[in-house]
């Protein structure tokens, strides 16, 4: 067992646990978009960052890929952490303003404007669908294509891959297209109403996901 301190509370967890898992076990809420308990941690969205204290210095690390270490001191909600998370969510909102998951997350963090140009890409490249397809379905029909700003999730040559079993898992696990923001218009990139709205079960306006990873043939993006 490894002993560590999270937000001032001492805990002890088995070796190989990640800081995110250890904190969630204690009931501490750490937001995360690319993490799923059934899949290999990926460390792409960086929303789950926490502060790792080392003497008089501290570093920000993604808690989903950070293994626990003996004597580690972690702070999950310092000013430094929330400041960085806010900027990251602002960046994500600029990329996908129509995602209810992101709008809710932004509202809960007190982000009330997006200072960046809105790009509206409808995919945050969290890689959940890619990992789900590969790890849970043992399929590997979809993957990342291109690099940098032109990176996207796709199938090879835009064709339905031989490996695809039409399980729809990619669509099910997607944090962006599962629920679309119902606000008709956005001000400064945020709808501002998210917290007041009851969560919707099925999405009335979302056309993005069918464009993205559709049930009929996975013609992607």
């Amino acid at each position: 067992m490894v002993e560590l301190t999270i937000d001032g509370i001492k805990t002890s967890v088995p070796e190989g646990t990640t800081v995110l898992e250890a904190a969630r076990e204690m009931g501490i809420i750490i937001p995360a978009l690319c993490y799923h308990p059934g899949l290999t941690p990926y460390g792409a969205c960086r929303v789950c960052i926490v502060e790792v204290v080392k003497g008089s210095q501290s570093l920000l690390e993604a808690s989903c890929t950070l293994p626990v270490a003996q004597g580690q001191t972690i702070i999950t909600s310092s000013a430094k952490v929330s400041q960085a998370r806010k900027v990251i969510i602002e960046l994500l909102l600029a990329a996908c303003p129509n995602s209810k998951t992101l709008q809710d997350l932004a509202a809960s963090m007190g982000v009330n404007r997006v200072r960046f140009k809105i790009k509206d890409k409808n995919c945050i490249l969290c890689g959940l669908c890619v990992r789900y397809c590969k790890e849970q379905m043992q399929s590997g029909g979809i993957g990342f294509v291109g690099r940098g700003t032109s990176r996207r999730v796709a199938t090879a040559f835009g064709e339905t891959p031989e490996e695809c079993r039409n399980c729809n898992g990619c669509e099910w696990i997607c944090p962006v297209c599962e629920r679309a923001c119902m606000a008709g218009s956005l001000t400064d990139g945020v709808c501002g109403r998210c917290l007041n709205l009851a969560p919707v079960e099925t999405c009335p306006v979302c056309t993005h996901c069918s464009e993205a990873v559709g049930s009929s043939g996975h013609r992607v993006y």
Binding site: L60, T65, V87, L125, G148
Partner: protein, 618 residues
């Protein structure tokens, strides 16, 4: 060809090579690095061979095509031994004269010699100011060696360090020597090499499999020291790697080299083949029972593959995507095995340390940065080239004493070190001693050793935009701060350079820069904001001029400058009219020409075309 079975046989063979060589026989060496290739050094060397043959001198004079000499500004470089007469900017047409005058009459061809500011001619390579202030311990052998001849490398003492390490040192002793030398990785991070080797050696591995990698994916634009070492002296890197393998007990090595460096790949391939033939690589090296071999892997053209985990992913046939490095690659690297990765220059330092000892090595440099460092000095500088200097030398010495200052009498403005991940160091810090720690203190870093000099005609906002654009294209796109953050940073910088900047933009850049630095997954992302943050730190006034006054002080940003014609200087020759792709210039012959601002796209062609400097930028 014979296979060498022991250190004694190696020494014997070396003596044979030396005995067959007459040190007084004239030898013409021609620099054949990529820089000189572009200057057509190939034709120069063909001209030598042909001319010597036609005069029946082919047996009297040796002609050797060597690696890069470093003084790329003045290529093609020809040095004639034993006198060490150095001729610069040699063209194929100069060859008959060199042969007739220097090789036959033993006189100098004055016009090809280096001439200093006072008009004094300098004959010997080592006395030219560019070389005089350097300390070329790693790079120096390049000029004596034909990279395709293992005999040349053996003649300058090559593979003696390997023999020493393999036959008379224990692996722990080798690691101890490297640790005591204070050698730090030359690839960017500056991690102590000996410690890395020790961790890798001590890391548990089920079947004892460990890997050695030489990182030759030199991606920094404007840095080419690793390429010149690989091209010019590949055996020194191979020797370093075998010594490292012996210390770590690894049997498999890789050199990951950029595909944009075809000559380096070719020369390295030849060198590996030769080393294998002589029994210096492969099974039972020098009869010691130790096996080690090296494979070449060509990179696919991705800057991110300079990052160790991305490099290893691509060696496994996957996309070059980094992973979190909480468990270091010395424990869990290539194929999940302990892997020791060092860059080209680091490996090239190893044989020197083993041969001369850690005490000798640690005399050079500063308290925490030992040895020499090769820099590629490029940009707005008189003497573009590769320079090797002891750590701790000041920027002033590099830029002015070695580099010869700024061309056309312009004013030195700043120097970018550490490549796209580094920072800009302004003129006010020109007396900064160059070592790992001092550069970081100044907001930059050592990186692999690129040094890009800028003068007053460089716009710092435009430069920051250039680096951010480069990194946006080269980011793998995995994590949000790097992919989205850099792209938004580029949006903001583009707005600023196009006159659309808002006063809040500078603070937003700083805030975003801090987050990208703190939260990115790998070193590419966490260092990416450096060029922006360091230029804001030292050149905030330039940003403010762009944002508040919509003015580009350096006259670079197209949307903020206008071209016009100086009434007094214009002779009405009409050259600019012909040069303009937009037909924006009009005027009768011998009368003042004018530029239609509506049509002008600020391409600058008229300025280049005008012989009277009548086109002015404001």
């Amino acid at each position: 060809m014979k296979r060498l079975r022991s250190a004694t046989e190696l020494e014997g063979f070396r003596q044979e090579i030396l005995a067959a060589r007459d040190p007084n026989k004239p030898c013409v060496t021609i620099c054949s690095g990529t820089g000189c290739h572009a200057y057509s050094c190939e034709r120069v060397s063909q001209a030598f061979t042909k001319e010597l043959k036609s005069r029946g001198l082919q047996g009297e004079v040796d002609v050797r095509r060597t690696g890069c000499h470093g003084y790329c500004e003045r290529g093609t470089i020809v040095v004639i031994f034993p006198e060490e007469i150095c001729y610069l900017r040699v063209q194929p047409e100069d060859v008959p004269e060199i042969i007739a005058t220097t090789l036959i009459e033993k006189k100098l061809v004055d016009r090809l010699l280096y001439q200093d500011e006072e008009g004094q001619k300098i004959v010997h390579e080592g006395e030219i100011p560019f070389y005089k202030h350097q300390e070329r311990t790693v790079f120096g052998s390049n000029r004596f060696i034909d990279p395709r001849s293992i005999e040349d490398y053996l003649a300058v003492g090559g593979y003696s360090a390997l023999a020493k390490a393999l036959c008379s040192m224990q692996p722990e002793e080798i690691i101890g020597e490297i640790k005591r030398s204070g050698l730090r990785g030359r690839g960017g991070g500056g991690f102590p090499t000996g410690m890395k080797w020790e961790s890798c050696r001590n890391a548990p591995s089920p079947a004892g499999v460990r890997y050695i990698i030489c990182n030759a994916d030199e991606g920094d634009p404007g840095a080419y020291m690793d390429r010149s070492l690989l091209e010019g002296n590949p055996h020194s890197i191979i020797e370093g790697m075998i010594i490292g393998a012996c210390a770590i007990e690894s049997h498999h090595g890789y050199v990951y080299v950029r595909h944009e460096y075809p000559l380096a790949v070719e020369n390295l391939g030849i060198a590996l083949e030769q080393a294998r033939e002589y029994g210096l690589l492969g099974e039972d090296i020098l009869g010691s029972g130790f096996d080690f071999d090296i494979k070449i892997s060509r990179g696919g053209g991705a800057f991110i593959c300079g990052e160790s985990t991305a490099l290893m992913a691509s060696l496994e046939g996957r996309i070059g995507e980094p992973r979190a490095k909480h468990i270091h690659t010395v424990i869990n690297g290539l194929h999940g095995r302990p892997t020791n990765l060092n860059n080209v220059e680091t490996w090239a330092n190893v044989p020197l340390i083993i041969n001369h000892g850690a005490d000798w090595y640690s005399q050079i440099g500063t308290a925490n940065s030992k040895g020499t460092k090769i820099f590629s000095l490029v940009g707005r500088i008189n003497n573009t080239g590769l320079v090797e200097v002891p750590m701790g030398i000041t920027l002033r010495e590099i830029i002015f004493d070695i580099g010869g200052g700024i061309p056309e009498g312009r004013k030195f403005k700043a120097v970018q070190t550490g490549g796209p991940s580094g920072g800009c160091i302004p003129e006010s810090l020109v007396d900064l001693p160059v070592d790992f720690d001092r550069l970081v203190e100044a907001g930059s870093m050592m990186g692999s050793g690129g040094m890009i000099v800028m003068d007053e005609t460089t716009c710092m906002v435009d430069l920051a935009k250039y680096f951010v654009k480069f990194l946006t294209e080269e980011s793998c796109g995995k994590c949000v701060p790097c992919r989205e953050g850099l792209d938004r940073m580029l949006d903001i910088l583009t707005d600023i350079t196009e006159g659309q900047g808002k006063p809040s933009d500078i603070e937003l850049l700083e805030e975003l820069g801090d987050v990208i630095r703190g939260t990115s997954l790998c070193a590419l992302g966490s260092t990416a904001p450096n060029p922006v943050l360091s230029t804001i730190k030292y050149f905030r006034d330039e940003y403010e001029a762009h944002v508040n006054e919509k003015r580009c002080p350096a006259g670079v940003c197209k949307a903020l400058i206008t071209f016009s014609i100086d009434e007094e200087k214009c002779t009405g020759c009409g050259v600019c009219i012909k040069s303009c792709p937009q037909m924006a210039i009009s005027g009768e012959k011998k009368k003042l020409h004018t530029i239609d601002q509506e049509k002008c796209i600020a391409c600058g062609l008229c300025r280049d075309a005008c012989k009277f400097e009548a086109v002015i930028v404001s």
